[in-house]
Symmetry: C2
Subunit: 423 residues, 2 copies
């Protein structure tokens, strides 16, 4: 019964509410999915402009009106901070003069292994390496399996941080069209692989930014078959998995029989951006990943890792995720409801996880041009071209629902509509 309900919940047909049970989702009629599709262009050197760097920095908080001091700490983060504080006060002896184990604190790796085992991937703690966030994990993964000039396939639209990484590592990028519902298009990937020599493919099977796509099992299996056929490294960006509004999907890694999926994750999206703790499991490249972790960072903060391990072990993390799941669903529904009142044709993704929707507006609307005008109104947007290495998606933007829709944010959403439709 519970299992059947969880499956219905996964499909968005029922909704679990803490301490109350399951309810039929009275969700509004689903808005149509964005259909802008990336063009395939030949691999080229990745490059990111200074303007985009500035926008990325502001957009990383997923908030239209960034105000780090507003609101209150959720109970889960309060509990986390107490656990970290306790780990700090527990420090004894000369421990501050020692680095942690090269792969990170064993207690934390054990908790992470349990967390992944619950998602269909039983992993030994020895195969996990703690990093300084998911960006660090992606960096190690790309550096471990690629050489300068290699071609890397990425989702388009997709995560801009990967484009920056490719640029700094002097790698070439080829963009593969991705749908906001089902992620990277496997037909398109096959075309790309047939045409160019590709070394690695970066995908976010669980709730890819910007639209929150969830890659279906058939696509996952086809991706792994293509990876074998073309000898690809597959880098799985799993950072959004635990933001699932329903059951947390299994990682692609769980299907990896050839040891060629490098899994990268982090606490930044589902718990706190302040921890700077992520992890990587480097598959056949794991030894090189470990060495690169040592030379790039040497070590991690031990009391922080111990605090988070305690927080996971005593159930605080699971409780936090349960509460957050409910809040995120409310935030997402309110956002989509508001967007449906906008004039013109508005297509919006309806993700079952992640922290944002992908919005496609009338073709004439230019979100990049609107960026400065919105900023003058105190509204920070993440325009569509940010999610492309070739300036595509000008009539699209990502809008976050990580934060509660308090009145200031609702006003910002209205101002944004005014700015976008004024031009």
């Amino acid at each position: 019964m519970q299992h059947a309900l969880r499956r219905l919940e996964a499909r968005g047909l029922v909704e679990a509410r803490p301490k109350a049970g399951y309810f039929l989702s009275l969700r509004p009629e689903s808005p149509t999915t964005p259909r802008s599709r990336a063009r395939i262009v030949a691999p080229r050197a990745a490059s990111v402009s200074d303007l985009l760097l500035d926008i990325m920095g502001r957009g990383a908080a997923f908030d239209l009106v960034p105000d780090p001091l507003a609101g209150s700490l959720p109970p889960g983060v309060l509990a986390l901070n107490r656990a970290v504080g306790r780990a700090l006060r527990r420090r004894r002896g000369g421990g501050y003069q020692y680095y942690d184990a090269p792969a990170g604190e064993p207690e934390l790796r054990e908790q992470l292994a349990l967390q992944h085992a619950r998602r269909g991937w039983p992993v030994e703690p020895e195969r996990l390496c703690v990093t300084s966030g998911c960006q660090h994990a992606l960096f190690l993964a790309l550096m471990a399996c690629c050489e300068r000039g290699d071609v890397v396939a990425v989702e388009s639209p997709g995560f801009y941080g990967v484009l920056q990484l490719l640029e700094q590592l002097r790698l070439q990028v080829v963009e593969v069209p991705a749908s906001p519902d089902t992620g990277m298009d496997m037909d398109a990937l096959e075309q790309v692989l047939d045409r160019w020599k590709v070394k690695a493919c970066v995908v976010s099977p669980a709730f890819a930014t910007p639209g929150g796509a969830l890659m279906p099992e058939a696509s996952r299996r086809r991706l792994l078959a293509l990876a074998e056929q073309h000898d690809l490294a597959v880098i799985e960006d799993d950072i959004y998995a635990e933001t699932a509004l329903g059951p947390v999907p299994d990682p692609l890694k769980a299907l990896d029989t050839q040891d060629r999926v490098i899994l990268c994750g982090s606490f930044s999206k589902c718990l706190s951006r302040d921890l700077r703790l992520g992890w990587v499991s480097g598959a056949r490249w794991h030894e090189r990943v470990l060495r690169l972790k040592l030379v790039t960072q040497l070590a991690g903060s031990r009391f922080l890792q111990q605090g988070v391990a305690d927080f996971m072990a005593d159930g605080g993390f699971a409780a936090h995720l349960r509460r957050q799941r409910h809040d995120l669903r409310v935030n997402r529904d309110q956002l989509i409801d508001r967007l449906r009142r906008w004039p013109g044709e508005v297509r919006v993704s309806r993700p079952e996880g992640g922290l944002a929707v992908w919005v496609e507006l009338d073709v004439g609307i230019d979100t990049l041009a609107a960026y400065d005008r919105a900023l003058e109104q105190g509204v920070v947007i993440t325009p569509g071209p940010l999610f492309s290495g070739s300036g595509q998606f000008r009539n699209c933007l990502r809008i976050g629902f990580a934060h509660r829709w308090h009145p200031d944010r609702l006003v910002a959403l209205e101002r944004l509509a005014d700015v976008l439709y004024a031009a």
Copy 2:
């Protein structure tokens, strides 16, 4: 008067004792300086064996008998932990959902700027970038100014972490002889530069590992002149500066009129290895350093940075350094005193900072071969070849004085002598 005393203290002729004043140093007769000199060999790909990686990991704590739980936290670290705990409890609002500024928390960069200004280098906080430790800073520096295959000059003997970095970045290494008293030999560097095209030079002007050399001003000026003449990037590893037993020497960077010295520092040696906080000032490569910091790490932990900034602002850091300075001098003198009782000819450096001495034994003694036998006795040593990319210095080893010489460590030192002289 105070100034004259500080100068005498810098030369080791008088000694400052907290709350007591200055005293004539009743130091034992100075043992002769080690004279093993590195051979210059042509640049080649850097490579580090697995065995050496294992030894490095154990040796990083500078302790013959590593026991992280022994002893008690020094008052400075207790105060630091309280400051970090307060910063954590002070967290309000939605701050946990935001990343820090790309270069790191402004409060911490201001404190670091003040700290460097006191050492003759007035720097704008905007020119400092917070990193995840000094290793991360060195990584960013090398990545910013070198391309795969470039040749990098390093001290020999010198810091093994740099050799690992060069290996992972596929750079070539050329070793320049360095003295345990005065650091890198400028005549030798000039020969190397005349013979091969070198892109960058990594030096530790203040208390270089393994011997704690302090580079004299004449060498510093000559290094900068050579750098200009040969268009070198100079990477200054400043990690040991604040372990000075006397006044803290100015950084090489303070003499840099051409914006080609990249300064790298950290709290790991002088305060705590658990913070994972370092910094870099990237000179003419600073923009690239900043971008690389973003893609390798994205952000740093904000409450940690705020806690350390508070600890510096309220004088806790300065007080910690004063107390530590006194302890380190006692530890160093006790170690040298013990080493002078060893049989055979024992040459020992007598550094005015850093955490270790460099010990040269009779030519027949093989410290690398003794590593396993010492480990069987529970004693961890850092054999000489660790500090060379070409296996030199087999009759040398580094011995740390970061920890108090409690009875267990004195016993370990005797066991070590037995192991070394038994063969």
